[in-house]
Symmetry: C3
Subunit: 313 residues, 3 copies
C-alpha cells in the first residue's frame, strides 16, 4: 500500500511523466483500473482545481468518488491524544480515520496550514493523523506544508514546454494581501531539487525563507531582477514569512511580475491568482502564461498518482 | 458548439418538444449519448429542482456530473477587467472559466440577479463571463435575466394539457415578502412570444413592467380580473419592480390567486411557492394545479437541452 | 412499496441478517439490483457515517446517488398546514416531497430532533412529512426519534461477536456536554425488544427515562454497576432528559465507562464518541471495543434496507 503525501513519493520521475503523457493522450485508456474502487475526498478547506481535477482523474480510471466538506457536513475532529473531549470537537481522528477507511479504498485529504501553530503545521497534524490511523492509502490534496499534486502538474508542464536540456527555472515570491501557506513553494522547490537537470533558483525578500531542509544548497536571491535574468520559466507565488510564523512582512508592489521583468520566459502560477497584485494582466493574457496548462495537467498528475496507488493495493 | 443560454436558443420548438416527449416516454433511450462526458454544475445560488432534475437528466444520458457550490466550496470570483485584485475576490473569471473548461465537457451555471446593480444584471455578468472565457458549452441553470430550462419545461407542460389549438395563457404577478428576480417571467414571456399559437397576455400592478424588449406588443393588463377572464392557463409568479430596480412596491394580497379567480383554468408556478401568499391552498391542492408536472418536466427539458449540446460537440 | 422508517420495518430478523452477511462477504454480488435507480439523500443535519456508508451501499447495488444538504443548498421547508408563508420558509413539504419524488426512486432523509418541541419531534414532523407526501419509498437516515440503520448495524455486530446463545446486553447512559436526541437509544432498545433471544436491560440516572412505549417491561436500573454486572455487550450512549424535554440534568463523570467497569464485556457506541467523557481512552483503544466494526456494518445495514426497498418497487 502506497501513500502519495510528498513529492518524494514520486519514485521515478521518468516513469511518472511518461504515464502522465499516456493518460493525457488517451484519458480513458485505463478506465478499468479503478473499477469497484471508491475514492473519498475530504475537504477541510476550499478547493476548485483540486476538487474538480481529482474527480475527473478518478472518472478516467473508472473509480467512484464521494466528496465531503468535512468541517461543514460532518463533525469537528480532535487530533490531540488524551484530551477530555468536552469542548467543540465531537469526534477523534482515531475513530474518524478508521471508520472512513471502511467506506473508501483511497482517501484524499485537503487541510491547509493554520499559520498560527508552527509546530502542528510542520507536524502535518491532519494529514499525518489520517496516515497514522487510516487503513487505506492517503492522497495529499494540499496539506500544511506541501502540495505534491500541484508540483507534479508543474513538472509535467515544464517538460512539455522546455526548449533546452537545462532550462533555467526561477521560483519568485510576489506580494499578496493575506497570509498564505508555504505548501506550494515547498513542493515546487522539492520537486526541482529532486530533478537536478533544471537550473533552479529562488528569489524572495529577506524574512521569507522557505524550509531550510528543502532549500539546502538551492541558490537564493534577494534581488528579484538578478534572479530572473535569462530565466526560461518563472514560477510565481506568494507565501507568508517563517519568522514571525505566518506574518505578512511586505506587500512591496515592486515584486509583482510584469511583462518587462518576465522577458521571454514562461510564466507559471498554481492559481487562483490575484491579477495586478501577483502579476499584471499583460502577463496572464500573453502566450507566455502557462497557468491554464498547469491547471489542465492537474488532472493527469492526479490520474498518475491514483494509478500508482491503485497498483499498490 | 452550442450553448443553451436563452429561450431563443431553442431552434425548433416542434423538434425539441418531440424529443422531450421521447425522453419522457423512455428516459434511458439515449443513455449512450453522454458516455465519457462530464457535466459540471456550478451554483452561485441555492437550488432544489434545477440541481436534482439536471443531475437526473445527465444520468439518463450516461453523463457524469460534478456539482459545486462555487461560493462556499471554491473561491470568490472577480468579473471586472483591469482591477487590482487586493480585496475579497481571489480568482478572476478569465482563469476560472478556462480552467473549469478543462475538467468538464459541458458547464451548467446558476447565478441569480443581484437586484442591486441593474447594469451588471442586464449584462449577465456571471453567465456571459463564463460564456466568454469558457471553451465548452454553457447551460443556463437560471441567470440574472432568464431561466430558459424552466420556460421549456413550462411549454412542455402546456402542450401536454392544452385542450384547444389556441389556448389563452396569462402570466400574472402575485405578491411576495421579498424582492425576486425577473428571470422566470422574462423567459416565460419570451417562449410564449416565440410560439404565437398561444393567446398570451400579462397582468401586473403598475410599476412592475417586464423588459420592454421582450414584452413589445404582448397585451399587458393592470386589472388582474380582466386579464384572467376565460384563461386556460394562469402562470403566476412574483417579481420585483423595474423602477426603482429590485424594489417591492406592493404586497397587495388582492393579487393572490384564489380558486374563484382561477375558475376552470390550470394553475402554473415554477416553485418554490409560498402558500397563501402567492396562491391559496385550495388552488395548489386541486387538480387544476400543474406545478408538480411542471417540476417533473424540468428533467426532460434539461435532457433535451443537454442532448442538443452533446450533438453540437 | 416499502419504507424503512423504524426497526419494526425489519420484517424478519433472520432473513435480514443473512442477507447482510451475504452482502458483507461479496459486496458487489447484487450490483445489478439498483441499475437505473436514483437514491436521493437529503440532509437536514450533519453526517459522516450515514452519508458515506449509505453512498457506499448504493454503489454496491449499482444505484446512482444524489446527495443534498437541503437547508444550505435548497430552500427552508414549511411543514405546518394552512399557514400564510410570508416568513422565512420558502417551500412547503407538500410540494417539495412530491417534486423530489419525481427525480429519485428512493429517498433517504436525515432530520434530527429539535429537542425544543416534544410534540413535533414525537410526531416525526420531517420524516413523516416526506412519508406522507412523497410518492417513493423513504429511508430513515436518523430521524427525531429513531435511527434504525444504526440499530440494524448494531444487531449485525452483536450477532457476529456473541459467544453464547443468550448474551447479556446492557444499554447505558453516559455523560455528554450537549443535549443529544434519544433516537439511537430508542432504536437500539426497540431492536433488542424485537429480538428476545438477548438478555437486555437499560441503565441511566433518574430523569433520563426513554419512551415508555418502547421500554415497557425491559428492566431499567439506576445503579450502573449493578446493571453492568456480567454483561457481554455494553452499548453506551448519551441522551437528554425526557422531563424537562431535552434537558441536561446530569454530567456526572461517574457514569463514564471505564476499563474496570467494562470488565470482559464488548464496548459498543454509534459514534461520534467523545473520548474521556463518554468512555475512557483505554476502552476505545482495547480489543473490547466494537465501534469500528459497528461503523463498518452501517454499509451492509444500508445495503440490506435498500435491497428490501428495491424489491418492493
Amino acid at each position: 500500500m502506497k501513500h502519495f503525501l510528498h513529492v518524494d513519493d514520486i519514485d521515478s520521475t521518468a516513469s511518472w511523466l511518461s504515464l502522465a503523457a499516456e493518460c493525457k493522450k488517451e484519458p480513458f485508456k485505463f478506465e478499468k483500473k479503478g473499477k469497484g474502487k471508491v475514492l473519498g475526498l475530504l475537504f477541510f478547506n476550499n478547493s476548485l482545481r483540486t476538487r474538480l481535477s481529482t474527480q475527473r482523474a478518478a472518472y478516467h480510471l473508472g473509480m467512484h468518488c464521494m466528496t465531503m466538506n468535512i468541517g461543514n457536513e460532518g463533525w469537528a475532529l480532535e487530533f490531540e491524544d488524551g484530551t477530555i473531549m468536552d469542548q467543540g470537537k465531537a469526534e477523534h481522528i482515531r475513530e474518524a480515520a478508521r471508520v472512513i477507511s471502511q467506506y473508501c479504498d483511497v482517501l484524499g485529504v485537503r487541510a491547509f496550514a493554520s499559520l498560527k501553530d508552527r509546530e502542528k503545521d510542520e507536524a502535518e497534524q491532519v494529514l499525518h493523523g489520517f496516515k497514522k490511523y487510516a487503513t487505506i492509502p492517503i492522497l495529499n490534496l494540499e496539506s500544511a506544508t506541501g502540495h505534491p499534486l500541484q508540483a507534479l502538474a508543474d513538472l509535467i508542464t515544464i517538460t512539455e514546454y522546455q526548449q533546452t536540456t537545462r532550462p533555467k527555472v526561477v521560483l519568485s515570491w510576489a506580494p499578496h494581501p493575506r497570509a498564505l501557506p508555504q505548501a506550494v513553494p515547498n513542493s515546487f522547490a522539492g520537486i526541482m531539487k529532486n530533478n537536478p537537470q533544471f537550473d533552479f533558483s529562488i528569489t524572495h525578500p529577506k524574512g521569507y525563507e522557505l524550509n531550510p531542509e528543502i532549500v539546502r544548497d538551492i541558490p537564493v536571491f534577494h534581488d528579484q531582477n538578478e534572479a530572473l535574468k535569462d530565466a526560461d520559466f518563472v514560477y510565481v507565488k506568494n507565501w507568508s514569512a517563517s519568522r514571525p510564523y505566518g506574518a505578512v512582512l511586505s506587500d512591496d508592489p515592486h515584486w509583482m511580475i510584469t511583462r518587462e521583468k518576465l522577458g521571454k520566459a514562461y510564466f507559471m502560477h498554481c492559481l487562483p491568482v490575484r491579477r495586478n497584485v501577483i502579476v499584471e494582466d499583460a502577463v496572464l493574457d500573453s502566450s507566455n502564461s502557462l497557468v491554464i496548462e498547469q491547471a489542465n495537467n492537474r488532472t493527469f498528475a492526479a490520474q498518475v498518482a491514483l494509478m500508482k496507488i491503485l497498483e499498490s493495493l
